[in-house]
């Protein structure tokens, strides 16, 4: 177990390091020079351009700049925004809490409803299973931007239950404003998780070891909990990990749709403004979210299934 943990941690750091290179390199290799962001539509004199390039260290070779940036990041210095002049860490930090809360609310909905639907379908074959199946077939075809538009028009505009955009005051206001975005993010994932859960539970219900448990006279609830559900967990955990990572990416769309001041919205803005240091930071953050979700799901699986505990067997 400890070996697996180290193994995963090593993989995590390697992935982050490699993606930092890719992120940094691709942004600076992209067309358009960073200093143009600062000059906007003005055409600067050669001397002014040279001065700005020097201030931004653009006169140094790429590897040197990358190294400076990386050591900065490792010391908690993400640079300064080229648009607002604020430290990048402040801009990112302001949105991070909101986005994490949004993802948390989304995943709570997904796990609650996805598991409930999947379990119901698995345990009640026939009509109930068919109904849940129909429901999830629809829900997995609804992308979050479509769900956003629908939810805004019904619950915000028509019914006025929730704000259409922005967040209210305090934690309560924040949660209130995040309900619709969370639902928009959850719709598709709920259907997906319900299907994974249904199939995983069905698969386990038919396993021989479940028959052994039944034929020993164990109560049905115990058989379901300790044998069926427990053994169905690995695919479910994998799905939750993937969906969580995907939710981080989907916040880009949904936060913009609902004007939620989170990392997603910041990313879209910064890309539009070519605010390179901010884009680098949020991109790295997204990668980190992905990698952490993955590693967490692998570790949970290893806790559930001892056969996955040998280091390297999951990667």
């Amino acid at each position: 177990m400890a070996r697996l943990l180290l193994h995963r941690l090593g993989g995590l750091l390697t992935t982050l390091f490699l993606s930092s290179i890719v992120i940094y390199g691709s942004l600076y290799l992209a067309p358009g020079s960073p200093e143009n962001v600062i000059f906007g539509s003005r055409t600067p004199s050669a001397a002014a351009r040279a001065a700005v390039r020097h201030r931004l260290h653009l006169d140094q070779p790429l590897p040197v700049r990358y190294w400076d940036w990386l050591t900065g990041v490792l010391h908690g210095d993400l640079g300064t925004s080229m648009v607002t002049g604020q430290p990048v860490a402040d801009r990112v930090g302001a949105g991070l809490g909101t986005t994490l809360l949004l993802v948390l609310m989304t995943m709570l909905l997904v796990v609650l409803f996805g598991l409930a639907m999947g379990l119901t379908a698995a345990l009640l074959p026939g009509r109930v299973d068919g109904a849940v199946n129909a429901l999830t077939s629809v829900s997995v075809t609804v992308p979050s931007f479509v769900a956003s538009a629908l939810l805004i028009s019904v619950f915000a505009v028509k019914l006025g239950w929730f704000p259409a955009s922005g967040l209210g005051q305090g934690f309560g206001g924040k949660v209130d404003g995040l309900v619709l975005p969370a639902v928009a993010l959850a719709v598709l994932s709920c259907g997906f998780l319900a299907r994974v859960t249904r199939n995983a539970v069905r698969d386990q219900l038919e396993r021989e070891h479940v028959q052994t448990a039944l034929v020993r006279g164990l109560p049905r609830a115990v058989v379901l909990r300790s044998h069926v559900l427990r053994n169905a967990l690995p695919p479910i955990v994998t799905a939750v990990g993937l969906l969580t990572a995907g939710t981080f990416a989907s916040t880009l769309v949904v936060e913009s749709a609902f004007a939620v001041p989170g990392i997603g919205q910041l990313t879209i803005q910064s890309v539009a403004q070519k605010d390179f240091p901010v884009v680098q930071a949020v991109a790295l953050l997204l990668v980190a979210a992905f990698v952490v979700c993955n590693a967490a799901s692998d570790l949970i699986q290893a806790v559930v299934d001892p056969r996955l505990r040998e280091a390297g067997s999951t990667s």
């Binding site: 396993r207 021989e208 070891h209 028959q211 052994t212 448990a213 039944l214 034929v215 020993r216 006279g217 164990l218 109560p219 115990v222 300790s226 044998h227 427990r230 053994n231 559930v304 299934d305 001892p306 056969r307």
Partner: protein, 331 residues
């Protein structure tokens, strides 16, 4: 004669097919087992041996339904409610499955597997249950039981795991053990050991046993009586001694003849021609008739009734003739 431990009469299992029809898997099985008795159930693949055991434990496939009667110590098994069924499964009957790897939950420790039923069903404390589990592991010939309790199923060999399975059944102290090909998945060398352990421990504890196997010789060695199944019916039911000496049903003769023998002088019959059929595939007459070298036109049309023969029962219309002819040939 004492009251039977297990009594099947006219046990029939039908399974609904996809197209709305139904297939017969077991067709009127009659069996009776006295307390402490060991009975062998022998037959080719698909003859319905496992289905019989599944019916006895009410572990039938979803689409299957059982009729006839199953009585355990007089209680009607098919009529039990959920609570009665749990009590019967917990303490009445224990099942040893063929493939312990598939039949033991791979994600939980051996200790958890062994103690689960004691803790959940009987309220035995965890510590006490583990102590009992360790003692029984030692009895089934496992060294260092304490260490084994902490291991996972994938960390031990198949033979060891089958002993764990046997230990789990012994821990529940049932009155009846159903062993469904308990050694088929194991190495030949380990098979004997496992059978010997099962045989000794069930004798010591006075448990009844139904021992299912493909191997007629093994059944004859372990069991007092043997039932031979073909196509969902019992075609011959005899004591092991008389069956060995004077098998009567042509199918049993075929099984005896098709086993490998090192004794070259032994009377040899060729292996049974053709493939075994299931109950629903058989015609109106004797299910074995198409493969039987003694079959007549009458065998194909008229189902044979079970007849008394040599202290047992045989389902063959020509049993007397065939027996007489064989005795003549021998003399």
């Amino acid at each position: 004669m004492t009251a039977p431990l297990l009594e099947l009469s006219g046990l029939t299992v039908d399974v609904a097919t996809e197209d709305g029809g139904s297939r017969t898997l077991l067709d009127g099985v009659d069996l009776s087992l006295a307390p402490g008795e060991a009975l062998g159930l022998v037959g080719e693949s698909g003859s319905g041996k496992s289905m019989t055991m599944r019916a006895v434990t009410r572990l039938l496939p979803r689409a299957a339904s059982a009729s006839g009667s199953i009585r355990f110590e007089g209680a009607d098994v098919l009529g039990m409610n959920a609570g009665e069924l749990r009590r019967y499964r917990d303490g009445g009957v224990g099942l040893v499955f063929q493939d312990p790897r598939a039949h033991i939950n791979p994600t939980r420790r051996i200790g958890a597997f062994l103690t689960e039923a004691l803790v959940r069903n009987r309220g035995v404390g965890r510590r006490e249950a583990l102590a009992r589990a360790a003692a029984v592991l030692a009895e089934v010939g496992i060294d260092d039981p304490q260490r084994r309790l902490g291991q996972y199923p994938h960390e031990v060999s198949g033979g060891m795991l089958q002993r764990v399975m046997i230990a789990s059944v012994l821990l529940a102290e049932p009155r009846l053990i159903l062993a469904d090909e308990p050694t088929t998945a194991l190495d030949v060398t380990i098979q004997r050991e496992v059978v010997a352990i099962l045989d000794r421990l069930r004798r010591e504890r006075g448990m009844g046993m139904v021992f299912i196997t493909h191997d007629l010789d093994l059944a004859l060695a372990v069991c007092g009586r043997v039932a031979v199944m073909y196509a969902g019916r019992i075609v011959e039911l005899r004591s092991a001694d008389t069956l060995h000496e004077r098998a009567a049903h042509p199918y049993t003769l075929g099984l005896l003849g098709s086993r490998p023998s090192i004794d070259a002088r032994a009377e040899r019959l060729s292996a049974i021609p053709g493939r075994p059929v299931s109950a629903f595939e058989s015609g109106p007459g004797c299910a074995f008739a198409p493969r039987c070298s003694f079959a007549t036109a009458g065998c194909e049309s008229e189902p044979p009734a079970p007849t008394e023969f040599d202290g047992g029962l045989v389902r063959c219309a020509r049993v007397e003739e065939i027996h007489a002819a064989r005795m003549e040939a021998k003399a």
